[in-house]
Amino acid sequence: MQTSAAVTFILAIISGMLVDNVLLSRFYGCCSFIGVSKKVESALGMGIAVVFVIIFASLICWPIYKFILVPLEIPFMDTITYILVIASLVQFIAIVIKKYLPKLYNSLGIYLPLITTNCAVLGVVQANTDMEYSFMLSMANAIGTALGFLLVIVVFACIRNRLESANVPKCLKGTPIALITASLMSIAFLGFLGMISI
């Protein structure tokens, strides 16, 4: 029984990371995906910040929904509660990054406070309660989704880095070729579809 729970946990992580990738199959969080993927360091910093926010938001929001909103019969307050929790977490991360990684803080710029409005974070937290996942499954979903975001944004930044030195037609330089690359990555990730079903 325990083995099967562990297997489900791992499969849920892989599923969230590759099969149901939040960026390439649901198109959540595309703003920061395009905006902060010019440099690999910035993309890595952004990815780690989003990983932290998604995991901690899920860790906090699931108990709030289950033990506060449902018993008080105010489940309709879920979205506004999640937004406030995410906004608070982002402020906390901004303080830490500003204090200990000022260079990263400067390179992230406006995209750091914009994690608050990143659909990927709210989407995961909302899906956890809407799909009535257990705590462990919701954590697996959060970890998988967060790692999927990190993986895709870093890979995309590496590709964009190489594209800068590539011989691209003038009309496609910059954002157009980045969007074509994103669509090709999305098609590539379709290959994982049907690999796992939970």
Partner: protein
């Protein structure tokens, strides 16, 4: 449950989380970037005048001139 109580609980939940957010926001505003961090940024391949990496009127740093 009485509708009045539900509204009251909604306001309390919102108020608690909003106060938490405001406290963190004010702490974030007061937190300053440590001295020297901006200087590090300027010493890289950035304009010595405005510090911007993609400055139109790129003026090289002293180290780069040498």
């Amino acid at each position: 449950m009485d509708i009045f109580l539900r509204v009251l609980f909604s306001i309390i939940v919102f108020a608690v989380l909003f106060v938490l957010f405001v406290i963190l926001y004010r702490v974030n505003k007061k937190t300053k970037i440590p001295k020297g961090a901006r200087e590090l940024e300027r010493n890289e391949f950035s304009c010595s005048h405005c510090g911007h990496a993609e400055c139109k009127f790129f003026i090289p740093n002293k180290e780069e001139k040498k």
